[in-house]
Every structure is written in structure tokens, then in C-alpha cells.
């Protein structure tokens, strides 16, 4: 019995690889875009404009306060109503990028706020422009605080990407659903799906731990 199931599981490996590829592509693209956006939001939040700060803050709270599944459905079903044609992959990327940006924004903003005011004053006093102060003085020190939670957040976001299977994207989780219909052993199938996610996330978990240990050794800046 198990033997037959294993054999037909073996037969599903091209599908499994496709699912894994989809999960990696989706998370990879969204995390890169989300990181860029999240940094931009984080810098803007701390740039001194009250209006920007509260506008971004409100958006972040809204996204953090609603289920990701609901956000995906909103994007996937509402945007086409408004005339924006979307395939499931694009919708997934948008939803996951937005989610990533919101979490990363908070991590980056917290890191920036942790840099002592004396640092900004020294940079200010020597005539550095706002962007130079950010780039040369504040961000490198903020990264020291932000990098470990940032990598930790990546792990959470990769796992959250499983929710996109709900709009029909054939990611790792959906492959699990498809295979289970052929091989009626949910335990076995989803154990393998779990292993797939773990294989993607574990290197990041190790990296986060390593960064955290490195922080105490570095002179205020984390070298990768």
C-alpha cells in the first residue's frame, strides 16, 4: 500500500518541482521588491514629515490587521472589476510584495530610530545632506539592529506565500492538494510539502542566527 503510494508520489515529482519553483519565484521576486519598497517606506516614515509618517503608518496597520488571504482575494477579484487585468501570478506578487513591504518598513523604521541622535547631529554639523546622512551614517548603523529580524521576517513571508494557492497558483502547497487527490495519504504528502518549505527557509534561519551572533563582534555595522 505505502509502496504504491510512494511510487505514484515519485511520478508526481515534476509537478512537485514546478510547485517548488513557483514558491521560490513568488517569494524571491516579492521579497526583493518588498525589501526595496519597505526600505523606502521605512526611510520616509522617519524623514520628519508627520503626514507621510501617519499615512504609511495607517497603511501598515491596515495590512497587518487584516488576514493575508483576504488581501489576496481583494487584489485578485477587485482589481479586474476596476479594469485592471491581472493573472494570478501578478496578483500574488502584488499581494506578497505589499505584505513584505509593510513588515520590512516597520523593521527598518525601528532600526533607524535606534540610531542615537548624536550620530545624526554629527553628520548634520559636518554638512552632509539628508540623503548622505541616511546613506553614510544612519542606515549602516540601523542595519545592525534590523538585519536579524529582517531575515527572520523573510522566513515568515516565504511561509505566508502558501496562501496564494487559494487563487489557483500552483505553488508547493497547491501541488500538495493536487497530489493528495491522486495519492490519498495526506500525512505523507504534506510532510513532503513541509520539507520543501523547510529546505527553502532553513538556510535563512541559519543566516539570521549567524547575523545575530556577528552583531556583537562588528563595529556598528554588519558585514555579510
Amino acid at each position: 500500500m505505502i509502496w504504491f503510494q510512494l511510487q505514484s508520489l515519485m511520478g508526481s515529482y515534476p509537478l512537485a518541482l514546478r510547485g517548488l519553483g513557483m514558491t521560490i519565484a513568488l517569494s524571491g521576486i516579492s521579497l526583493v521588491l518588498g525589501t526595496i519598497l519597505g526600505f523606502a517606506f521605512g526611510v520616509l516614515r522617519t524623514s520628519g514629515s508627520r503626514l507621510l509618517d501617519s499615512a504609511i503608518g495607517l497603511w501598515v496597520d491596515l495590512i497587518r490587521g487584516t488576514p493575508f488571504l483576504v488581501q489576496i482575494f481583494l487584489i485578485f477579484f477587485i482589481l479586474p472589476e476596476l479594469g485592471v487585468e491581472l493573472d494570478a501570478f501578478t496578483a500574488g506578487i502584488i499581494a506578497l510584495t505589499n505584505l513584505a513591504a509593510c513588515f520590512i518598513c516597520e523593521i527598518v523604521a525601528a532600526g533607524i530610530r535606534s540610531v542615537p541622535t548624536g550620530q545624526v547631529e554629527a553628520a548634520l554639523a559636518s554638512g552632509l545632506s539628508q540623503w548622505q546622512r541616511m546613506r553614510q551614517v544612519v542606515l549602516p548603523q540601523a542595519m545592525r539592529v534590523s538585519l536579524p529580524p529582517l531575515v527572520g521576517q523573510y522566513v515568515l513571508l516565504i511561509k505566508d506565500s502558501s496562501v496564494v494557492s487559494a487563487i489557483g497558483l500552483t505553488d508547493l502547497t497547491r501541488v500538495g492538494w493536487l497530489v493528495v487527490q491522486r495519492v490519498p495519504n495526506g500525512l505523507l504528502v504534506f510532510a513532503i510539502v513541509g520539507i520543501g518549505y523547510f529546505a527553502v527557509c532553513y538556510p535563512l534561519i541559519l543566516l539570521a542566527r549567524r547575523l545575530e551572533r556577528r552583531m556583537s563582534a562588528a563595529h556598528g555595522e554588519v558585514q555579510l
Partner: protein, 242 residues
């Protein structure tokens, strides 16, 4: 070079600077002293715009602060500021600390900036510490890097806010010696400090502040040996005791 005319400043309800009128001539060294909370830091932080004033005029290097025509970022490149807490960039080496602004603000070529950075660090006695991070330096060494960081910008004015009061006693003189050297090169300086030896040696004037107002000004000789007001006498008797 620096001129305060009827300057007032409040922190909320607290009147921190009360009708300050004071001027510092080019190449003059002025020492500011007074009890804690009297507004000394606030006074010199206004000069490079780390604090903004409420009313009155503050003219620095011919430019009136708060005017539209005054580019604060540009003006700051002409004013060095030395902090009590050093505020070196912890993620940069001594050499990177002193070359950051010359490279990015003055747009000097890296090689040239590094050459003059090394020269300046050597001048403050840190020829063997180019590649040390601030965390690897003593307080006195960090403060000397901080002074070199300002001097590398070739400023017209140097401001010091209690540069030695965060230091262990044995490190104070190495920093004061550097400051004396700067003064001897005829830099315009405003120095908040209680170091009377320094004041006597290089200052042309001492300004005594209390409760946000300038209470007395005079030459170091006059001020230290013959203070005119009760408040300055009371203050001097306190700092002389130790």
C-alpha cells in the same frame, strides 16, 4: 564672525536664551561657562542650526540664520562642532571618520582626502590609529579624532560643547593641548568649558551665563581673579573647590 542680537529661545514654556547679545570677532577665542542648565549648549548649538531661535538676529559668517537666502547645509560646512560625547561614527575607522565629509560634501578626491586626513590625525597625535574603530580608542583619542574630523573640513569657525567633561582626568590635557594648538593657528573658536587653564591660556574673552542670560563678560584675567557679580563669584567658588 558670529553675532547674536537680542536672541531669544524657548523650549516650550522654558525661556532658555534670554535676550542674548554677543559677538565673536574673526580669530577670537571665546570661552563660555556657567552652571548646568544655564543654556550654554543651546547657545552654541544655535550657531550651526542644531537649535533654531525664536526671535532676534543671529548672523554667522555674514549670513543671517533663518533667512531664505541662507543655505544652512552649506554654512555648516564652514563650522566645526565638537560634541561632549564625541559622536564619532562607530562603523567607520578613524580615517573614514575624518574623510567622510571632505569626500561627500567637499567633493575632494578620495586619495587627496585620505592624505590630508592622515596628516590631520598625525597632527592630533594619532598617527598609529588610522584604521582603528572608535570602540578601540580611549575617550581622549576619540575626542581628538572628532576634532580632526572637523579640521579636515577647513572650517572658519570651531565650536566646542564641553569637549573634556566626558573624559577621565588623565585624558583631559591631551585634548586641551590639541585645542590650544587649534587656537594658536588663529581659528575663530567658541568653547563651552570650565577648564580655566585653557581659558587663561588662549581665550580673549570669557562669557558667563546663568539662567539663560549672559551675566558677565570679561578677559579671563578679569573674570577669574575679579568676578563682578554675585552669581559669577558663587559659580567660581564652586568650580574652584575641586
Amino acid at each position: 564672525m558670529i553675532e547674536f542680537r537680542g536672541v531669544n529661545k524657548w523650549f516650550g514654556a522654558l525661556h532658555v536664551l534670554k535676550d542674548i547679545t554677543l559677538s565673536v570677532e574673526p580669530r577670537e577665542v571665546v570661552v563660555v561657562c556657567g552652571p548646568s542648565g544655564s543654556g550654554k549648549s543651546t547657545l552654541i548649538r544655535c550657531i550651526n542650526g542644531l537649535e533654531t531661535i525664536k526671535d532676534g538676529d543671529l548672523v554667522v559668517d555674514g549670513q543671517r540664520l533663518g533667512d531664505r537666502a541662507t543655505n544652512m547645509t552649506e554654512l555648516r560646512t564652514e563650522i566645526g562642532f565638537v560634541f561632549q560625547a564625541f559622536n564619532l561614527y562607530p562603523h567607520k575607522t578613524a580615517l573614514e571618520n575624518v574623510t567622510l565629509a571632505p569626500i561627500h560634501v567637499r567633493k575632494i578626491a578620495r586619495a587627496e582626502a585620505e592624505a590630508s586626513g592622515r596628516e590631520m590625525l598625525a597632527k592630533v597625535g594619532l598617527a598609529d590609529k588610522f584604521n582603528a574603530y572608535p570602540s578601540e580608542l580611549s575617550g581622549g583619542q576619540q575626542q581628538r579624532v572628532a576634532i580632526a574630523r572637523c579640521l579636515c573640513m577647513r572650517p572658519k569657525i570651531m565650536l566646542f560643547d564641553e569637549p573634556t567633561s566626558a573624559l577621565d582626568p588623565e585624558m583631559i590635557s591631551e585634548v586641551l593641548d590639541v585645542m590650544v594648538g587649534v587656537a594658536e593657528e588663529r581659528m575663530t573658536m567658541m568653547v563651552v568649558t570650565h577648564e580655566m587653564g585653557f581659558a587663561r591660556k588662549v581665550a580673549q574673552r570669557v562669557v558667563f551665563m546663568d539662567a539663560g542670560a549672559v551675566v558677565e563678560t570679561g578677559t579671563p584675567e578679569e573674570f577669574f581673579s575679579d568676578p563682578k557679580t554675585d552669581r559669577s563669584r558663587a559659580f567660581l567658588s564652586k568650580i574652584l573647590r575641586h
